[in-house]
Symmetry: none
Subunit: 193 residues, 4 copies
């Protein structure tokens, strides 16, 4: 008996590939089912509807980022080191899964407002981890005590996101992970005390 991945995971992974290959609006349920090697109807044993597939893709994949951040946030390192890890990790994960990168940076953003709101809810956890780092850095005197925390968060996330999107749109023509130290330095300059 062949041991299969549980179908839920199987379908999520198929969705990432289909969306990356065909684009958001051409990612029909039947294509995802075919890629996953299951019948169309089987999808609906594991997901409420198509929207549920898309949000689940994002949630499952973001979990990697969020968990690694939670871990690093519990370690005894400086806030600056944590920030550096966050950036490096972000770039590394997406570098290693170009399908995922295309899906999160380009395709999923084409979804309608409902899905976008649910995706943002997932993203919020990630941003809260970032906030934790920033608060800690301010308390430790590493980061500028007068800076606007929300702006700092937007500075960091906006930059990391823009660099990643740029990398995807330019068909990965530069080495994304190699940008991490430089991005870290620019951002640290911006916020350090």
């Amino acid at each position: 008996m062949k041991r299969e991945k549980p179908k839920y995971k199987q379908i999520i992974d198929a969705a990432v590939i289909v969306i990356a290959d065909n684009g958001y609006h051409q990612a029909q349920v039947s294509k995802i089912a075919k890629q996953a090697g299951v019948a169309d109807g089987t999808i609906y044993l594991y997901f409420k509807n198509k929207e549920d597939i898309l949000i689940s893709v994002f949630r499952e994949k973001m979990a990697v980022f969020i968990e690694s951040l939670q871990e690093v946030n519990q370690e005894n390192t400086t806030a600056a080191e944590k920030l550096e890890f966050m950036i490096t990790n972000h770039f590394r994960v997406l570098s290693n899964d170009k399908y995922l990168a295309r899906v999160t940076q380009l395709e999923l953003r084409q979804s309608n407002r409902d899905i976008r709101l649910k995706i943002n809810a997932v993203l919020k956890e990630y941003l809260e981890q970032l906030d934790t780092i920033l608060e800690e850095g301010v308390k430790a005197g590493e980061f500028d005590a007068n800076m606007d925390l929300r702006l700092a968060r937007q500075l960091i996330f906006g930059t990391v996101d823009e660099v990643t999107t740029s990398w995807v749109m330019k068909d990965h023509k530069f080495d994304l992970t190699a940008q991490a130290p430089k991005v870290y330095q620019l951002l640290l300059n911006g916020i350090k005390g």
Copy 2:
């Protein structure tokens, strides 16, 4: 007899309103035609297809940003002052036209890959103006000579864009233009020599 705006402009403006009010996916050509006060078929006398409307919306509205930057780039001010103006101007224009802000920050991004690529082509002019400022600043010793120019551009555009998007998604709950000096300071810290 009332002198009417030329129909081309009329349709562009109608598109912005319809997209802002209904969202990208609910902005049907017939709605735009109705809002513009013309027949559906008339749209196709001025635009090749729907995609052409959307890109034209972006191009026409971006022109405001680009022109003002071209002007300021020809003035005798420091690169830092130019950067500050760029940020302030960006926030001010979108603050003054909340319809436009919603359309550019949220709605148009839901379009498919083809339209996104064409929108990026329009954006490129804006980013080139930004590059001009950065190069000038490096040459004048205002900005760090060792920094990666592309990263600096992504830092600045990514941050400004993220702050604006955040402001739109939070229903303009904070004063966007008031962020300009703080954003400028954070970014300048990042890149100054």
Copy 3:
């Protein structure tokens, strides 16, 4: 230029034929469109949705019955004569349009509760005309003053409907209009004073 029936009527008539030929559950919108000689989408310029087509079929066709009853109710005849006319007319109209008979007696009754309720609302007008006849007959001493009006209505409608349905289910094997005098006599016996 060929003068066409207005499309609305054209589609209604096509629906009757398609439903009669294929049965309620096999009467797809595309079949109706094809039969009407229009595109699928054209249907939706004239009807809100499929349900709207079905109810409209019933409403338009019942109008024939209701109007003729309204006319006869305004004439100077006895209630018994009006009743006889009603029965004769009912059988004659359905005898002359076997498609319609199949649709109203068998097919439309397979619809779901929502449609059935709306169909019943249309039917109500017909039954009210019948009530008018009965009340008039009681007042004139033609019909039994002690009878239960609602039951009398159910007696008449139930019988006429059952005879018609029987005729349809037996593939029109007997002459429906020929039943009218006998049915009238049975019913009159039941309710006469």
Copy 4:
């Protein structure tokens, strides 16, 4: 160990409840299985297919009517008394099982032509019992010798059915069994010699 009803009966009863509660078109096999406390697949050990369940429901429940009529038809009473019993019994049985009444009067009639034909075959036995009463009544001089037997049957069944359906559609707002004597009188008037 609790002695269970045989599964066949269990499933029939579950079907009546599910159809009455959810309506014909929302009575999925899986719902019936759940209500019956068995697995979906188990249904198919006792019934050939869904159609078979529905017809069996009707057949099993009609048996009550048919048996009681067979009994009364063997008694030494007048045809008129038998007719009265038939009407009273019909109303009483359905009054006592409102689930069943909804299912037979409203829901099962939404089924397609095939099922309807098979249901009619079951109904035929009932109508034959009614014919026996009528023939006996004619022979005994109780009923009009000149009347059309088929019409008389349709008069009686159509009226009883219409009264019952009306009662179900009006949510049992009147006392159905209380109608029996009045209905009997109306019908007897119609057919008595």
